[in-house]
């Protein structure tokens, strides 16, 4: 085998070990860590007290300004 062949084989085997191993490790960690439990809570994790579920968080600047002017006390 030429050095190029050995390089190809080493890269293929190395890739399988690296990506296969990383996938197994990541899934194992996720299961142990409870990442695949309580999906409802997971889906809501991007919301918080300042950006809660039920609030739209983006608008065209003009429309937002108009809404803001119309409702100066209502910030949400």
């Amino acid at each position: 085998m030429s050095p190029a062949d050995i390089t190809v084989i080493a890269i293929v085997i190395g890739s399988i070990a690296l990506f296969g191993g990383a996938t197994v490790l990541a899934m194992g960690w996720a299961f142990r860590n409870g990442q695949f439990e309580n999906f409802q809570q997971g889906a809501a994790s991007i919301f918080g007290p300042d950006e809660p579920i039920g609030e739209m968080t983006d608008a065209f600047p003009v429309k937002r300004a108009a809404k803001h002017a119309a409702q100066p006390e209502s910030q949400d």
Binding site: F39, G48, P49, D50, T57, P61
Partner: protein, 490 residues
């Protein structure tokens, strides 16, 4: 709204302050990556229009070798794939990882060096090609002195994303974080291996095209797609204020993509001198991609159900939903295209070019436009200066990519049919295609008009021409008491 009024003010204020501090920590690097992405988008657009015009007007700019079609087309690809898309991907990865991990970015100045390295690499790639240093390897056309800059820049970004993840305060790993972590893990290896096996320690024979198309297809599938899909999973629910329809499906979609996408590249070598089993396995992998794509499609559609009208009011949502719908369409089309019977007609035609642009622009670029419309005001503390320019950007981009896709798909399909007919002279096929090439140039001019509007908005925002954010729905700046907020001045 009811939930909002029941939330204690203190919690809102504290959460807003934390979010503002996180955004402030990544402001410099993320804006640098974003501004660079917009710059390369403009350069790539100009190169695209020149290359496209030459297809129907071959005597356009023929005076110098630097402006020949081959160099313009290769330089365009490097500018938009490595300049625009990749830098937008890195900006998105850094910002969303910080937000989702609820962790501030550490040592942001090192990321400025990373963005500089990437810019130098892109500059060498684009102008190296224009001045004759291009390589005859599709997607890896950059001169050999460019890849070290990309690898170094990418290594820093990957390490920083991992570092932010390690420092996370949010215990749950949201689906977007899975996609980002996978992308920053996959792509450095993908790129380094491809460069090594093609240039540094070249594999022999047909292994080279195999590695080439493994890289090319996975550039989209394992680098741009995960971050773009992850962005949609963040922006859509966040903007409309509704959790994604099925979190279970989103996780299933991620792992299915991880399992099947990397097989798909070999379908580009159908009919080529490569082992038949390799191509067949790739076709199977491509068909299996229906699983993650359907999972994502159901999820995005059901999340938006009853909220589609909100795209009228939100620029971020409008672009993102367009990109998400296109993802479904382009992925279904790609799976069908991988079939050998379909490839008998579509292979080596402009049909494939239309498909590639629908994926890279209609899906990836549109979602990143949406992200930028959401992210940049939160980083600069300024609203977008002109709603009209945003509308110009959206409609020119949407109509432009539609014209591009429809025109070249029809022309490309009939090109394939005629190429398969030995009675049709080759010159007749070129003559037949000229009107379709013209539609591509018109579409390109439309899209470039949108990019100019986008760049104008971006510069105005950076220059402080937009109104200061004074509250509003995002609570980026807490409207009640901002004195303790790190971003109080905004």
């Amino acid at each position: 709204m009811a939930a909002a009024t029941q939330t204690p003010d203190y919690d809102r204020q504290r959460a807003a302050a934390e979010r503002a501090a996180i955004d402030a920590s990544c402001r410099g690097p993320v804006l640098y990556f974003s501004a660079s992405a917009v710059f390369w988008l403009l350069i790539g657009s100009v190169l695209a229009i020149i290359a496209s015009t030459k297809m129907h007007s071959p005597y356009f700019l023929t005076g110098t070798p630097e402006l020949t079609f081959g160099r313009m087309r290769m330089a365009h690809l490097q500018a938009v794939a490595l300049g625009w898309s990749s830098m937008a991907t890195m900006a998105a990865s850094l910002w969303m990882m910080c937000r989702l991990a609820r962790a501030e970015l550490i040592y942001p100045k090192i990321l400025l060096a990373s963005a500089t390295l990437w810019n130098v690499g892109t500059f060498l790639a684009v102008f190296g090609i224009i001045f004759g240093g291009g390589q005859s390897v599709e997607w890896l056309d950059a001169p050999q002195y460019a890849p070290p800059f990309f690898i170094a820049g990418l290594g820093i970004v990957s390490a920083w994303v991992a570092a932010v993840f390690r420092r996370r305060r949010e215990p749950h790993v949201y689906v977007t974080q899975w996609y980002i972590l996978a992308a920053v893990f996959w792509f450095p290896w993908l790129y380094t291996v491809a460069v090594m096996m093609i240039f540094w320690s070249p594999a022999t024979g047909v292994v080279q095209p195999i590695v080439n198309w493994w890289f090319n297809h996975n550039f989209l599938g394992l680098w741009l797609t995960p971050v773009a899909v992850g962005t949609a999973y963040y922006i859509i629910p966040k903007v409309i204020g509704r959790p994604i329809h099925s979190y279970y499906l989103s996780i299933t979609g991620f792992w299915a993509l991880a399992l099947f996408y990397s097989w798909a590249g070999m379908h580009h070598l159908i009919g080529g001198p490569v082992p038949a089993w390799l191509v067949t396995a790739s076709v199977v992998g491509s068909m299996m991609m229906f699983i993650p794509v359907i999972a994502v499609a159901i999820n995005h559609h059901m999340t938006m159900l009853g909220h589609f009208h909100r795209a009228k009011y939100s620029p971020a949502l409008r672009f993102t939903v367009f990109g998400a719908i296109t993802y479904t369409w382009v992925s279904f089309q790609g799976a069908i295209e991988s079939l050998k019977s379909f490839s008998e007609v579509a292979h080596f035609t402009h049909y494939t070019v239309a498909h590639a642009h629908l994926g890279a622009y209609g899906f990836v670029a549109m979602i990143f436009f949406g992200l930028f419309y959401y992210m940049i005001p939160r980083l600069t503390g300024r609203e977008w200066a002109s709603a009209s320019l945003i509308r110009v950007h959206f409609w020119t981009a949407a109509v432009g990519i539609t014209i591009y896709f429809v025109g070249l798909s029809i022309g490309g399909w009939w090109q394939g049919r005629m190429l398969n007919d030995p009675n049709v002279p080759f010159g007749n096929i070129i003559t037949y295609l000229k009107p379709y090439f013209l539609t591509r140039t018109i579409a390109g001019i439309l899209m470039t008009t949108g990019h100019l509007a986008f760049a104008t908005l971006f510069i105005m925002n950076l220059a402080g021409w937009g109104k200061k954010r004074v509250g509003g729905p995002t609570y980026f700046v807490e409207p009640l008491k901002t004195t303790n907020s790190p971003n109080a001045k905004n």
